[in-house]
Symmetry: C2
Subunit: 204 residues, 2 copies
DNA sequence: CATTATACATACAATCACGTTTGTTTGTGA
DNA sequence: TCACAAACAAACGTGATTGTATGTATAATG
């Protein structure tokens, strides 16, 4: 009972990625054996090695699935469809965490990348790929805060670039605290209010 | 040539911890074998297992060394020795990153914890111990921002608690971006300016 | 319809790291 | 000084993973 149809093969490939996500999340990337991934996927290691060269390749494939969910989101930020650019910043940040809330797969992948992966050797390059959208986000923030300043929406005396860096750090930190999700600070429930308060801080 | 003096034994223990830090940083905690740690320390696995129960215990010991470097720093925040509490916040944040710059061992431990460790099983509890100082920091920030509001140093209309959460996220994010240290954003060089700009944002 | 490459399952070999046990020397306390 | 335990080194056994090699049934292709 082998040699399945192309569609079926693609399906098993997807099953393997889904299984990898579960196993990576539970055991961490390092301790996750491809044997266990295969078990959870309902196949053998033969199938895993057929579709992916090794664990790193599987990790990259898993990541790429969720990487491009935010493309439209970033596009929104600089679309300039809102009169007040600061509203665009707010919406962009709210949208990011909304995705984390509504897309469990994406959330799990980000949790793996934040807390269940050691960035050495084959995995070290991922760190910079993960960081790349952040650099983009920073550039967009600079532009948008610049617009806000020009149009008088940014409080007088505030430097757009400085605001961009501040917002980048804020977003990064909120993301990390959101992932850890300690009951004591309850960041996950406060996230929306925090975002609004963060942006309000620089409104004219 | 065994049965060394107590002082010598303590020294080898320290050598093992130092070696662990190097190996963890290079290979990640998961891939770091105690054999390699022993080699770098100039001993055998026998010595490692004599001083530490296993890799996790060694990790905990390594961490604890650097954990209490910031105690005085947090104390400073609520010491109320500065007229303007916002200056205390600024100094506290600057002090944190100054420690990272001046204490390479501490920096390495924090880099291991941020990027070279998978928080599962025996390592999962560490995540909450790491987060505990953050909770403390948040509480202190609430108090200090409250003082600032009372004394009129906080810009009118700003909620002290909201400011505390914003600063916590900022600090967390700055720390993470500082660790990744991409040349593109150059956060590590801008850190001081970012901190000052962050605090300035809420001055009256 | 014969052939071929696909999509796996199974089997194999090799390494590696871990925990434990045993052995050895020598500080140290009585 | 004597007995004991500290502070390791060395050896042992074991299970877990990895990569590869081989087998095989069947979908695709001409």
């Amino acid at each position: 009972m082998v040699r399945k149809t192309k569609a079926e093969a693609e399906q098993t490939r997807q099953q393997i990625i889904d299984a990898a996500r579960k196993v990576f999340l539970e055991l961490g990337v390092g301790r996750a054996s491809l044997e266990r991934v295969a078990q959870v996927a309902g196949v053998t290691r033969g199938a895993v090695y057929w579709h992916f060269e090794n664990k790193a390749a599987l990790f990259y494939a898993m990541r790429e699935e969720s990487a491009h969910v935010f493309d439209e989101l970033e596009q929104d930020l600089v679309s300039d469809r809102l009169a007040n650019p600061l509203d665009a910043v707010e919406e962009s940040l709210l949208g990011f965490f909304k995705v984390l809330e509504t897309h469990p797969k994406v959330r799990e992948v980000f949790e793996i990348m934040a807390l269940r992966c050691e960035y050495v050797d084959e995995f070290a390059p991922i760190l910079y790929e993960v960081n790349k959208p952040c650099i983009d986000f920073l550039a967009r923030l600079c532009k948008v805060y610049g617009w806000a300043a020009e149009r008088g929406y940014l409080r007088a005396g505030l430097d757009p670039e400085a605001m961009a860096y501040d917002t980048l750090s804020f977003a990064t930190g909120l993301f990390n605290n959101w992932m850890i999700d300690d009951e004591a600070d309850d960041v996950r429930r406060r996230a929306h209010a925090m975002i609004r308060s963060h942006v309000a801080l620089r409104r004219a």
